[in-house]
Amino acid sequence: MPARPSQRSASSTKSTGKSASQKRTTLKLEPSTANTKRESSSTPSSSKKKGKEKEVVKDPASAIPQRLNTQDKSQLWVDMYEPQSEVAELAVHVRKVENVRNWLRESLDGGPSGKLRKYRRVLVLTGPAGTAKSSTIRVLSEELKFEILEWKSSAGDTFVNAPDFITTSSWVSDDTMFTKFRLFLERASKCQNVFKTSPTPLSPYSSSSSSLNPTQTQRIILLEDLPNILHASIRSQFQDVIRSLIENADPDPVPIIIIVSDSGMRGEAGDERLLNGAWGHDDEGAFDIRSLLPKDILHGPYVEEIKFNPIAPTLLKKALQALLSRHFASQKSLITGQMLDTVVESANGDIRSAIMALQFACIRLSKKGKGANPQVLMESITRREQSLALFHLMGKVLYNKRKTDPSAPSATAKDIKKDQELDRTLEDLPALPPFLSEHDRKTSRVDVNTLYADSPIDSSLFSLYIHQNYTQFCVDVDECDGVADWLSWADSSGGEAWYQVNPYRFHLLALGTLHSLPTPVPRLNQKVCKPEFFDNLNKEKEAWEGVRDVRSWIVDQGSDNGWNISAWTPTAIATELGGVLRARDVTSSSMPSATRRVPTGHRAFSRLRFAYPKSDRKSIGGQPLNEGDNGEPYSDGAIMMEEQQEIGMWQNREERERDRVVNVADTGGWLESDDINYF
């Protein structure tokens, strides 16, 4: 332990110099697997830390004065206060850390039974940016005493070191970079370090020192800085490498940890990209674990995914307070409690951004002295995109508040005052001529442009939310008519070609909905629900599977050379074949050979029972939306499904194959007696 502070501060000094002067000194990362590391990872450690680390609270007290003296002004707090060794310092929920720790234990020692090791090959940490994913691993590496071998792409270096090389480097590097990556992985997973590393905990940045302790340190491979997997071929290569690592039966595997930050699904991304003339919906934008690893690996036995949630406000606040009290140990804190609240509120659980905001605020406050208005300052610092929660977005649109509307009964005095202030800034619209009087509305309190800028979801999802929920907010069918017509119009206004989404769809929908809804919307305890669209899309997909099965059955039956296949289009099967199939189901139960039977899949589309709606049931359907829900309200894969809808339901071979296997496996049990009684 005594060695650490000095070591740490040495590295800090260097990085300080760096961030200050923008010149990169190279902090040699001693290669732990001999040359692989050397060629690939001479990246300065700070280039990494700058972006990826989030620190929370404190460092051992001894280190603090030293740092404050030397680097107070220029070093990022994010780097200065990264938690080092104590799990308690992490602002992550204890259970989450426990999950990761368990996995690591099992992967290193095989768990209690010692057999789990085989299955703990890859751990995937996902979650929004700034949720202490990497820090957790680093802290645990201290605690569990393992060594981290980290891959770092050197692309960044090329740019910095040779600015005149920029134009070509990105092209040159792709392939060779990947070769390096593969070599790194292979060697890191197989070779032992020539210089056995010391078991004493070292800061991972200076990862292996030259201590010649013979005991073997356990290692993990950390992949955070991935190769350019947006490139299709690189991605498939990457997947192959991972697959081969997983599948080889190494008795002594080195676990791999992959850290993927969910990139924000920024609202209008789709639309805007199209505006810029880009083609595809897919591949770009949403980069997440599903695009990184294929389904069979991700859901296979060797891979485990742990999702990190945005850091809870309470934890975040506690961590920030601890940080502040450490930073202003001797003096009075510049940050007031209210300011801290603002920071916490606007950070959306991103601790890195919260700390950045704090530091920035401190710098500004200390410079300007008392003159500056802290309120204004905080506002300018904490304004972030994506800070409008979905829940509030829907509330704003659906409650359709207009000038001089009476406040909700539950509103607090503060809210009422805010509303009044807002009303004062709103101008009255000029009155419409008499023949348009039905369109007369008071000025809306909702600013659609701001809404659009802050929306966490894209216009397609936005429209689904409106669609799911508007009926509750309407009193009359006529109002519904307005909203439904706008939905329909906006959906079809893109023009003939499928890729032309109307760029103003969001605005049109928001304005159209606001215009159509009654004013004021009666408060009836409405609950905003998640769209059911995707569930039904899923069901439809399954039903198409059934159609497909039946079609191949028809082909099989068309004994003589299959002359008739062509006459059966999927639609014809779905709409016309139901009766016969059901009749066959009944009669064929007595038939001995299973091959003659109609595939059971047809039940997905041939049966349709009508249930009259119960009058007492309030059918809002769907799952209520919660305040905490962010832009991804649907269960996993919704985006994929929507794309799939665009491609056509018929396309989905992988799944079909899998289902078929399942079907075959179930052959025995596909005609239960209660199924027959059905008729």
Binding site: S492, N536, W563, T575, E576, I647
Partner: protein, 359 residues
């Protein structure tokens, strides 16, 4: 035990039971073909009228029995965004058949790639009767505009190696340049006598006596869709093997379902009812019933039940939303928008309000 529809489908132009003039015409066209003179064709007509049967018969006339040796291939195409599309292709040595709607929005890619490939290859089989290959495009009316435009160019360019036969329900969704490049073949729905004859023929082949009144009941119900009629006959025969007693010809589940949805719309007009109707639509959609069919069936039923004064409006809006549905991507919006519109119309009519503002 294949379906009767398939088992007793006519195999050659001579075996066809109705539309004899059409058969004669096709025969003479096919015999012309040896001199290299065979046009692109567009078969259109309601479903179950026998378009595909006539196409396959024509092919047999053109190429001989070899055309019946089919194989199914799975082909992979790359969409512009490098997504893989898999499309099933039925082909023999002489023709190839695709259903481009399988490729959804990317049908243009499939059409282009495939046609180009076929057009660039020559028939190498010396025994082949014709020098050209035939491409059959099913459900041509569901082709996107893009795909149709692509098709149009190809039809002009590659006439020497390839003929295209399109099969569609209606020509109205095809662009004019395509229509003008094809010989139009209208296959009308068979009339009741034709259908009666076919049904009797089928029952004789199967080996039972079909009472004419049962047959005509089925025919009444099938609306000129012969396939539906024969399927119905088969189902009926399976349920009550002697075809006696009170026979109820069951409509397909989805049809009854649609009718009940229409009743829901008429019986109450409120936001809550809209949600209920939406559930029903979701249910229908998830049973693979095409949205246009749903809209049509429900609209027909609604029109039956409402007052004359608003019938025209109901249908007008059905047409409007059907077009939007075709362009848009989320079908449920348009179905629902129509329902709400109808509810609104109905309600206003009911309360005797002025309707002019809805035009």
């Amino acid at each position: 035990m294949s379906l009767w529809v398939d088992q007793y489908r006519p195999r050659s132009l001579e075996d066809l039971h109705y539309h004899h003039e059409l058969s004669t015409r096709l025969r003479s066209l096919a015999s012309l073909a040896s001199s290299g003179d065979f046009p692109h064709m567009l078969f259109y007509g309601p479903s179950g009228a026998g378009k595909k049967t006539r196409i396959t018969c024509t092919l047999k006339k053109l190429f001989g029995p070899g055309v019946e040796k089919l194989k199914i291939d799975q082909r992979v195409f790359l969409s512009p965004s490098r997504r893989k599309l898999e499309v099933n292709i039925v082909q023999s040595n002489f023709h190839i058949e695709i259903t481009p709607s399988e490729a959804g929005n990317y049908d243009r890619v499939v059409i282009q790639e495939l046609l180009k490939e076929i057009a660039q290859t020559q028939q190498v089989d010396l025994n082949a009767k014709q020098r050209f290959k035939v491409v059959i495009i099913n459900e041509a009316d569901s082709l996107s505009r893009d795909a149709q435009a692509a098709l149009r160019r190809t039809m002009e360019k590659f006439m020497s190696n390839m003929r295209i036969i399109l099969c569609a329900n209606s020509t109205s969704r095809l662009i004019a340049p395509i229509k003008s490049r094809c010989l139009l073949m209208r296959v009308a729905a068979p009339n009741a006598e034709d259908m009666q004859a076919v049904m009797q023929h089928v029952s004789k082949r199967v080996g039972f006596d079909l009472p004419p009144d049962v047959a005509s009941k089925i025919i009444d119900d099938s609306g000129g869709n012969l396939r539906k009629a024969i399927l119905c006959l088969e189902a009926l025969k399976m349920q009550s093997p002697d075809l006696s007693g009170v026979l109820t010809i069951a409509k397909p589940d989805w049809e009854t379902y649609c009718h009940k949805v229409a009743d829901l719309i008429i019986s109450e007009q409120s936001p809550a009812r809209i949600m209920e109707v939406r559930q029903k639509f979701y249910e229908l959609l998830s049973h693979c019933i095409p949205p246009a069919t749903i809209l049509k069936t429900v609209a027909d039923r609604v029109v039956e039940r409402v007052d004359d004064a608003i019938k025209a409006d109901v249908m007008h809006w059905a047409a409007v939303y059907e077009v939007r549905m075709r362009i848009g991507s989320k079908k449920i919006y348009h179905l629902e928008a129509w329902v709400v519109k109808v509810m609104s119309l109905y309600k206003h009519f009911f309360y005797g309000m002025d309707l002019t503002e809805f035009d």
